[in-house]
């Protein structure tokens, strides 16, 4: 797997972990918030209540207006009332201030709070965090209960209580949540992997089966387990594969029948043609002595018999390719010499312009008969449909990225005719393809080029048709690998 996080397994893993993390953290956060509020509320309520009780207890004894020493005694008495709680107390009256501890700057007290205590009659509190330690600051104005309406005395008592205990609770809560998240995430990863395996196993099976089908193993089927969507998918896959197999089998049967028919027809045509071919020379010879009409008829029959014989031969050759019965009989040849012979055997050596390498320069392992047929068809085609001069070229092509060290031979057949129309070009190697639909019969069988293509393909080479760039004439290029595999029948 190149990109693990893009796969199904990775995505499931990420999803599970995200869901678990969100769920755990949300639950933890809400619990934390509620618990923290409850803890702090309770402690501050207790503190305010006690402070009020102490202050109320002291208030009647305060002389008015209080002196510095009065304030000091108030502060110290309030602080002394709660020795365990580590209270720090500040009592103020206008500009006077006294703390329970000497030189206590009471930095926790903010100006805002001070003015709030001055203007209101209720207790004011604020949580302050200094140097990472949180403490509760409470401010309480001292009121007179007489005369009748309560009025501010101008004396305020401030209290600072460190909240280390509460902080400890809160910290413990955070730690607990943290400890809960880690195993939950681990569990999520485990579950994700299990779920991914459950999903991935059938998916992987499906992939393997699809690939197998693509490689042509149409009898591939999946084992269907359970009744979930993946099982449905496997089931559908099996049905599709079965339908495909059936269609392909039917197509193959039909194709085999069609091929068989062509082969049978060609075969049956051969016997009468053998009789006719045997006597064409006799007819040609005698035609000279017959009256013109009969002579013409005789020559016509003779000529058509030769064409028919060629057509049947080509058809049988094609059927053999179709049946896969065509094999290579490789031989080590001088290719230039081989091409010369091909031309000579058909009397074309003076008609065709050649540019071939010298003797022994280009040797290759090819099937001489098939090479001969391929080249003869190309040259014959050029002579019939193109125009002279026809040129036959042969040269070696070096492969720059040579994996096959044997190299390639290139055979080019060029004519000087009008070229091949662009719409015909892709079809020139099709069977019986006629470039001119008005011309229903040409001299060739219409199979020559497809036979050439099959022969070249059998050699592992390529053949292509094009028009000359400078205009005028078609170019057929055959490329054949020189280092053929040893496919010879075992000799000795």
């Amino acid at each position: 797997m190149k990109r693990p996080l893009r796969g199904l397994r990775g995505r499931l893993l990420v999803a599970f972990v995200l869901v678990t993390a969100v769920a755990t953290l949300t639950t933890g956060a809400l619990t934390f918030r509620e618990a923290r509020i409850a803890v702090l509320q309770q402690s501050q309520d207790t503190i305010i209540k006690r402070l009020r009780a102490h202050v109320d207890g002291l208030a009647p004894g305060i002389a008015y207006p209080p002196t510095q020493s009065d304030l000091e005694s108030v502060a110290q008495e309030v602080a002394a009332a709660e020795p365990a709680q580590n209270w720090r107390v500040l009592a103020t009256y206008r500009d006077l201030r006294a703390t329970s501890r000497p030189q206590d700057a009471f930095t926790e007290l903010t100006a805002g709070m001070r003015s709030a205590v001055g203007s209101r009659r209720a207790a004011v509190f604020q949580r302050v965090t200094t140097d990472g330690r949180s403490s509760l600051v409470v401010g309480l104005p001292v009121t007179f209960s007489e005369p009748a309406e309560r009025s501010a005395s101008g004396v305020s008592v401030f209290l600072t209580v460190p909240q280390t205990g509460e902080q400890g609770y809160v910290d413990a809560l955070v730690t607990a949540i943290g400890r809960a998240v880690v195993p939950a995430l681990g569990l999520a990863v485990l579950l994700a992997l299990l779920a991914a395996r459950g999903v991935l196993r059938p998916v992987r099976e499906l992939r393997r089966a699809t690939r197998s089908i693509a490689e042509g193993h149409l009898d591939t089927r999946l084992a269907v387990n359970g009744s979930d969507e993946l099982a449905d998918l496997s089931h559908t896959f099996n049905e599709t594969a079965a339908a495909l197999e059936e269609s392909v089998a039917e197509l193959r049967r039909m194709e085999a029948r069609a091929r068989r028919f062509v082969a049978d027809v060609s075969h049956e045509l051969r016997t009468p043609l053998a009789a006719m071919s045997a006597v064409t020379d006799v007819l040609d010879e005698d035609a000279a002595r017959l009256d013109p009409d009969t002579a013409m008829a005789v020559r016509l029959i003779s000529g058509e018999t030769v064409k028919l014989a060629r057509l049947v031969g080509d058809l049988m050759e094609i059927s053999r390719f179709d049946a896969g019965a065509a094999g290579l009989q490789l031989d080590d040849l001088d290719l230039a010499e081989s091409l010369r012979r091909t031309l000579a055997a058909r009397g074309w050596q003076d008609t065709v312009d050649t540019r071939l390498p010298g003797p022994g320069e280009l040797r290759g392992r090819v099937d001489p008969r098939r090479l001969d047929v391929a080249v003869a068809n190309l040259v014959g085609n050029a002579l019939r449909h193109g125009a002279c001069p026809v040129q036959l070229r042969l040269y070696a092509r070096e492969m720059p990225d040579a994996a096959d060290d044997g190299g390639w031979a290139v055979i080019e057949v060029t004519d000087s005719g009008p070229g091949i129309p662009a719409d015909v070009l892709p079809h020139v190697f099709d069977r019986f393809y006629k470039s001119d639909t008005a011309r229903t019969r040409s001299e060739g069988s219409g199979l020559g080029l497809s036979i050439t293509a099959e022969n070249v393909r059998l050699h592992g080479g390529t053949v292509r048709a094009a028009n000359r760039e400078e205009g005028g004439g078609a170019v057929f290029t055959v490329e054949i690998p020189l280092g053929q595999e040893e496919k010879e029948v075992r000799e000795t």
């Binding site: 075969h267 051969r270 016997t271 009468p272 043609l273 053998a274 009789a275 006719m276 071919s277 045997a278 006597v279 064409t280 020379d281 006799v282 010879e285 030769v306 014989a309 049947v312 031969g313 049988m316 050759e317 053999r320 019965a325 094999g327 009989q329 490789l330 031989d331 080590d332 040849l333 081989s338 012979r341 000579a344 055997a345 392992r365 001489p368 008969r369 090479l371 001969d372 040893e486 029948v489 000799e491 000795t492």
Partner: protein, 232 residues
């Protein structure tokens, strides 16, 4: 007047070929079945047999084998084109050459003439009777003038193409001949390419000379190129 025995089951083909060959100056006798052909072989004594491969009853292949057991008359097989296995099997059964049907009379005629020329004898420049011996113990003798081969004193009966192939190869021991060269020297094919002819003939020749399977002593394969004759 070369005497040709044509064994062919189809009447039209038979008549057509007979007509054409007669025009070329051959003395042609025809047979419609293999049995009839074998019977005519003794009475007619043809110079060459043209044999259809597909015959009703006794097949052309079987006829070929039976002719070879008692006679070295050249056989030209007429076969369905490119039924590659047919050709190879036919050649291995002892045919000297083959033509593919449908065939024009002049092609068949040329093949017949070529086969007949070969029977006329191998080239011998000096014209002096010359008997060569080959092998460590001189077990193989080749009489170039008398066209006789013996192995350990026993005569080896070879068909014309086999004899000619052996004479060609043994004339230059150690020299490698490509299939193409052999095709031209032995079969006089102007048309190049049927290396199967060479391979089948070599195989037959090896069998008749009693070469051990897989380790030919005299006629060795030069892989990817051709064959050579090893004298010792």
């Amino acid at each position: 007047m070369p005497r040709v025995l044509l064994i062919e089951d189809d009447r039209a083909v038979r008549e057509g070929v007979r007509l054409a060959l007669r025009r070329q100056g051959h003395d042609v006798t025809t047979a419609g079945t293999g049995e009839e052909g074998l019977a005519l072989l003794r009475s007619f004594r043809p110079d060459v047999v043209v044999l259809d491969l597909m015959l009703p009853g006794l097949s052309g292949l079987e006829v070929c084998r039976r002719i070879r057991t008692e006679d070295q008359v050249p056989i030209v097989m007429a076969t369905a084109r490119g039924d590659d296995t047919d050709i190879v099997v036919g050649l291995e059964a002892g045919a000297d050459d083959y033509v593919v049907k449908p065939v024009q009379a002049r092609v068949l005629e040329a093949r017949i003439r070529a086969v007949l020329r070969r029977v006329g004898g191998a080239p011998n420049a000096e014209g002096i009777p010359k008997i060569e011996t080959h092998g460590d113990d001189g077990e193989l003798t080749i009489d170039r003038a008398g066209l006789a081969i013996t192995r350990r004193g026993a005569p080896v009966s070879l068909a014309p193409s086999e004899l000619r192939l052996l004479l060609t190869l043994s004339a230059s021991p150690g020299q490698v001949f490509s299939r193409q060269q052999l095709l031209e020297a032995v079969w006089e094919h102007s048309y190049h390419g049927d290396s199967r002819l060479v391979d089948a003939c070599v195989k037959r020749l090896r069998t008749k000379m009693g070469e051990p399977a897989g380790q030919p002593r005299y006629i060795q394969t030069v892989r990817g190129f051709g064959y050579r004759f090893q004298s010792r």
